[in-house]
């Protein structure tokens, strides 16, 4: 490799569950500070892709390089040190419902890094403000929040330790258009503020165009198109056109069984 090292490189990534091939050779690179959005229908393996990079799922074959190091060749301990720099916003927010909002945000600081709870709480309240929530929310439990507020708290939790890489799994799914836009702006803001590298997966095209520098389309376990976000409407790719315009007819046949 003669060019500079990409922040994340994925090479020939394969994963199947039983007889179902979910990823059948995914390749892509992301440079530092770049925001990539992966689009694709439900059950095309977008979440599996992120979970492979996070080390939550072990792929069947392929390489995942973070800062030029193949994490699949590392020991579990070394790998978790490498994947620690990734913050993730889960689709369903995945807040710890036994803990208060501020404990959720400070979870990594207190339990992962052993910081004292007083200063961690101050950081949590600060993060709440950054996602546009008042300090009073800090003492509520996640169950008392609306879906949009839960997503914001989850975002605050994901960015609490200033991770260098951020993953967003369907950040706007299930939100009304206004709240969705608030989340989109927060994501753009935070990614810019931290200078983080971001991978988002979504099938919300409005969201994709707002948060992406580049968009890649995943279909049948492969990246079938990749290009700048501004080109998404004029890609000339029949798969992308069908998806972006939301047409039932086209080269993409919906799978009847989910993954």
């Amino acid at each position: 490799m003669s060019e500079t090292t990409s922040k994340i490189s994925v090479r020939g990534l394969r994963k199947s569950f039983g007889s179902k091939n979910v990823l059948s050779g995914v390749d892509f690179d992301i440079e530092e500070g770049e925001s990539l959005v992966v689009i694709g229908g439900s059950g095309t393996g977008k979440s599996v892709l992120l979970k492979c990079i996070l080390g939550l799922i072990t792929p069947d074959a392929g390489e995942i390089l973070i800062d030029g190091v193949d994490i699949l060749k590392l020991s579990p301990f070394e790998r978790s040190r490498k994947t620690r720099q990734i913050g993730m916003l889960f689709q369903g927010a995945a807040l710890f419902d036994s803990l208060k909002v501020w404990e959720n945000i400070a979870f990594r600081l207190i339990y992962g890094e052993g910081k004292a709870s007083g200063p961690s709480r101050a950081i949590a309240v600060d993060r709440l403000a950054q996602v546009g929530l008042p300090a009073e929310v800090a003492n509520l439990s996640p169950a008392e929040l609306s879906g949009g507020m839960q997503k914001r708290v989850a975002l605050a939790r994901a960015i609490a330790a200033d991770p260098k890489i951020l993953f967003f799994d369907e950040p706007t799914t299930g939100l009304d258009p206004i709240t969705a836009d608030v989340i989109n702006r927060l994501i753009v803001d935070r990614v810019k503020a931290v200078g983080a590298t971001a991978i988002s997966i979504t099938h919300d095209m409005v969201s994709a165009r707002k948060i992406a520098d580049e968009i890649a389309m995943l279909y049948q376990g492969r990246i079938v198109w990749r290009g700048p976000a501004s080109d998404i409407l004029s890609s000339g790719n029949p798969y992308v056109d069908q998806f972006v315009n939301g047409r039932a007819e086209g080269p993409i046949k919906m799978a009847l069984k989910s993954a």
Binding site: T83, M88, F90, A94, D97, F107, R108, Y111, G112, E113
Partner: protein
């Protein structure tokens, strides 16, 4: 299909499951050694498993002791041995019924509770989220529960033993005309330390098995509410079977020497 292949496949599946469980149990029991140790999680599990189980374990023990007193009296009267009621009752409670019944009640309460809690966390991505926040779920969720249950169980059983003997004493004194002080003195001079400690060792093993089953099935649960329901059911059934099977093995070891 070939019936032999069917049996073989089922046998392999069972061994694979036991193997996975054993690895899980070892990881869970020792994950905390390399630190950090989450004291708050440990204490909260100890209170939930230990202290909060006491009412239901106490009720079980008092009725078991009471019924046992009637049965022993009725049975031993057939060969005029009813004066040995206190001794037989005490040995039965501390060696067998105290640990057994307490463990089964804790299995019903805590094993199912752990499976449901961890299962709900699993299907809502909370366990994956924990990993992405640089906290090992084995250290934060599994180890505290296994340690707390294993340590608390002997204390629960000690209380169950006392209440069980009290239940038997109450029936013996008020329904069967035993003399209260003599009854206690008979137990005191008859019961050995080994009788009690063998029951407490059993209790620790039962606590370990209960928490491993609850955590294992919860941690591995898949597929929404139905999956969590299945995990809860499996945890209780597996705990009960493990308690009864290990009870026989331990009893045969203790009785031999």
């Amino acid at each position: 299909m070939n019936p032999a292949a069917h049996i073989g496949r089922a046998a392999i599946a069972i061994f694979a499951e036991i193997g996975a469980m054993s690895i899980f149990a070892l990881k869970g029991a020792f994950a905390w050694v390399s630190g950090p140790f989450y004291t708050r999680e440990f204490l909260s599990a100890a209170i939930r498993v230990g202290f909060n189980s006491l009412p239901v374990v106490g009720l079980t023990a008092i009725f078991t002791g009471a019924a046992l007193a009637l049965n022993i009296y009725d049975g031993s009267a057939r060969f005029n041995a009813e004066t040995f009621l206190p001794q037989i009752l005490a040995v039965s409670i501390v060696r067998e019924l105290g640990p057994g019944f307490a463990a089964l009640m804790v299995a019903g309460r805590s094993s199912s509770g752990m499976a449901a809690e961890l299962g709900a966390m699993r299907v809502s991505d909370q366990i994956d989220a924990m990993s992405t926040l640089a906290v090992d779920p084995f250290k934060y969720l599994i180890s505290p529960r296994i340690l707390a249950t294993t340590i608390m169980m002997p204390f629960i059983v000690l209380v169950a033993d006392l209440i069980g003997i009290l239940g038997g004493w109450t029936v013996a004194v008020y329904a069967l005309d035993f003399e209260g002080a003599t009854y206690i003195r008979n137990i005191d001079s008859f019961l050995t330390a080994e009788d009690v400690t063998s029951g407490l060792v059993k209790a620790g093993v039962f606590g370990f098995l209960i928490s491993v089953m609850g955590c294992y099935y919860g941690y591995k649960s898949r597929g929404g509410a139905q999956g969590v329901g299945g995990a809860t059911r499996s945890a209780v059934v597996a705990s009960a079977v493990a308690i009864l099977a290990s009870n026989y093995i331990m009893t045969s070891l203790f009785v031999d020497f």
